[in-house]
């Protein structure tokens, strides 16, 4: 019965596509059915299932998950306030000398909003709404515009401190803990901060390549009809926003603030900016709060469902079977990583990043980390593989969503041609990171070397410190 977990995954895939039911309902339904069968057949102890309410409570008291509604609130505010529009116009004005201005500006907007990114789906929705009509009005070819919207929407997968990165960091922490407990290797368990720092250099290289490609594609576009004019107020807003985002990013990467606090600061700044500029009216506020709750509920439902699903899969012992499979894979750790990345890539065709992080990562990563112990490297590779998979036409998640949100008229062949250079850049960064694991440790090593450390204590100081520790009172003599 250990293979039951694989049948569960198969059932989820079939029911998701075949019924169109919400992913959380399918996950819960399949888990409930298999749990009932497992208990009836004696393959799973009923007591294991009674842990479910406690696991649910564990989700509600998870500090990191508090960031979830904050990111969603930021996304909803950006969607309803004119800030993203101002940033796009400011970028257009800044790059006015080149014909590639609209595409460069679109990519820049994606990069600026990436750290505040909630999900790929939410980013596609925001950027499609803002960028597609504007790119069309600037005469940008529809396929080129759609390709840039798709790429810009997935930047949040690799640019910290986006929600995807926070949640993957948490999932990797758990997976690494499991792997270390199983292998008894004495290493430090990675945390979210390690994943942020690990992703910095590969994400930076990809961003650079994406800008170069946007310029390369954009220079063939027709000249912009009229130069963008931007008032001083809007220039200040654009500069202030860019400065604020960079400051927040630096504070999180350097460890001055926790990701949850950074997300809260971002949400508060957007709320205050909206109130100060009087663009956040009572009506818009109601819409923002409605969107925030609906999206938060959807994401949390997925988390609850994934918790139920993985509990049942583990109840059958499928995780052990997966670990055995990974252990006997020939070819060393690199082959195991490649197989793991391929599995993630295939999942990304039908699942959003959150579904993969909540359902697939907890099952796949512990055995993978037993073979390939560099957890930061594996986490960054997973992010890059996910990002690439979202962009593979025609069924990559971002591509599919962007086409359904205003890109219906774009034929597939020109879209494939427009996306190919970006996919090439992603394969290049993925290959570089695969070949050079050190790329994922450069930023952390640099930051740690610049952090002043105290000199080691002398023997005398150690003796004094030990003497200053108050000793516990001696137990009283028992009465004779």
């Amino acid at each position: 019965m250990e293979s039951a977990g694989f049948y569960m995954l198969g059932c989820v895939g079939l029911l998701l596509i075949g019924t169109g039911l919400p992913a959380y309902a399918v996950l819960i339904g399949v888990a409930t059915l298999f749990a009932a069968l497992g208990v009836a057949a004696g393959a799973m102890p009923f007591n294991l299932l009674t842990a479910l309410p406690s696991r649910l409570i564990g989700l509600l008291e998870n500090d990191l998950l508090q960031a979830l509604p904050l990111y969603v609130l930021m996304g909803a505010l950006l969607n309803r306030l004119p800030l993203a529009d101002i940033l796009f116009r400011a970028g257009n004005a800044a790059f006015a000398r080149t014909r590639a201005a609209p595409l460069l500006s679109a990519m820049g907007l994606g990069a600026m909003l990436a750290p505040m990114n909630g999900s790929v789906g939410a980013s596609v929705a925001t950027l499609s709404r803002i960028l597609q009509p504007r790119l069309r009005s600037h005469g940008v070819a529809a396929a080129d515009g759609l390709a840039v919207v798709c790429v810009a929407s997935t930047l949040g997968v690799v640019v910290p401190p986006s929600l995807v990165l926070i949640l993957l960091g948490d999932a990797m922490l758990r997976a690494h803990t499991e792997a270390v407990n199983a292998t008894h290797v004495a290493v430090r368990i990675i945390n979210t901060q390690d994943v942020f720092r690990g992703a910095l250099v590969p994400a930076g290289i990809f961003l650079l390549l994406a800008f170069v490609l946007a310029w390369w594609i954009g220079r063939r576009e027709p000249p912009t009809p009229a130069r963008e004019r931007l008032g001083w107020g809007h220039r200040l807003v654009a500069l202030g926003t860019a400065g604020f985002i960079l400051l927040l990013l630096a504070a999180v990467v350097l460890g001055y603030v926790y990701a949850v606090e950074a997300a809260a600061a971002g949400a508060m700044a957007l709320l205050l900016a909206g109130l100060a500029t009087r663009t956040l009216t009572a009506e818009i506020m109601r819409e923002v709060l409605r969107d925030t709750m609906a999206v938060t509920g959807a994401l949390f439902a997925l988390l609850v469902a994934a918790t139920t699903f993985t509990l049942v899969v583990r109840g059958f012992g499928t995780d052990r079977l997966l670990a055995e499979f990974m252990a006997v894979l020939p070819g060393g750790p690199d082959v195991a990583v490649a197989v793991g990345l391929l599995a993630l890539g295939l999942c990304a065709f039908v699942l959003d990043a959150f579904e993969i992080i909540f359902v697939v990562i907890p099952l796949l990563m512990p055995p993978l980390l037993m073979r390939a112990p560099d957890a930061v490297w594996v986490a960054v590779l997973a992010l890059l593989a996910l990002q690439a998979s979202f962009l593979i036409p025609p069924i990559g998640y971002a591509v599919m969503m962007a086409r359904s949100l205003g890109g219906e008229g774009v034929a597939l062949p020109p879209l494939v041609r427009a996306l190919l250079p970006f996919l090439g850049a992603q394969v290049l960064v993925l290959g570089l990171t695969l070949a050079l694991p050190a790329l994922t440790h450069v930023a952390a090593a640099k930051l740690e070397s610049e952090t002043p450390t105290k000199p080691p204590l002398s023997d005398e100081e150690v003796r004094k410190a030990l003497q200053s520790i108050p000793l516990p009172p001696l137990p009283e003599e028992p009465p004779k």
Partner: protein, 162 residues
């Protein structure tokens, strides 16, 4: 008679979960405030965090059902969007009654004793000893209760006239 009851229950659940949307604001303010409270005031940071924790728990317990009512759950409906509306409605009813309702009922039955004990003892947060931890457990129970109520309403609601 049954339809009137379902309508009333639907309105009550709708009003309860929609009222919770304002909780996003205090959660944001409290989570932001813990930064200056920790680094500048050097006090009350953990209180702000604990308060935000149970408000967050309450918020997401309402949000799950709100998302169901707003039909904002993530779904891969590339194929199913081509089905006739009646088939999709039938699938949605089956999903509610076969997937969500048994799971929510199981959580309610198995989790009741733990939640009741916590509520009776007005359990405090284990690390900081701040009051209100029982509200986190009650929120988990509430989440399941609302999910069950919504699943039953969705499954039993009469078909809409076309």
């Amino acid at each position: 008679m049954m339809v009137a009851w379902l309508d009333r229950a639907d309105r009550a659940v709708g009003a309860a979960v929609a009222a919770g949307r304002w909780l996003a604001l205090p959660v944001s303010v409290l989570l932001f405030a813990q930064w200056p409270l920790r680094d500048l005031v050097h006090a009350y940071s953990t209180d702000a965090n604990d308060l935000a924790q149970w408000l967050f728990a309450l918020y997401v317990s309402l949000a799950l059902t709100y998302a169901t009512r707003m039909r904002s759950h993530l779904a891969a409906d590339v194929l199913a969007r081509r089905y006739p509306a009646s088939a999709r409605e039938c699938l949605a009813r089956l999903g509610a009654i076969l997937c969500i309702a048994p799971w929510a009922l199981f959580i309610l039955v198995v989790g009741t004793s733990e939640v009741w004990q916590s509520l009776r003892g007005l359990e405090h947060f284990p690390e900081t000893l701040s009051p209100g931890y029982f509200l986190v457990k009650v929120s988990a129970w509430l989440l399941a209760l609302l999910a069950l109520a919504q699943a039953l309403i969705d499954a039993l609601r009469p078909r809409r006239e076309r």
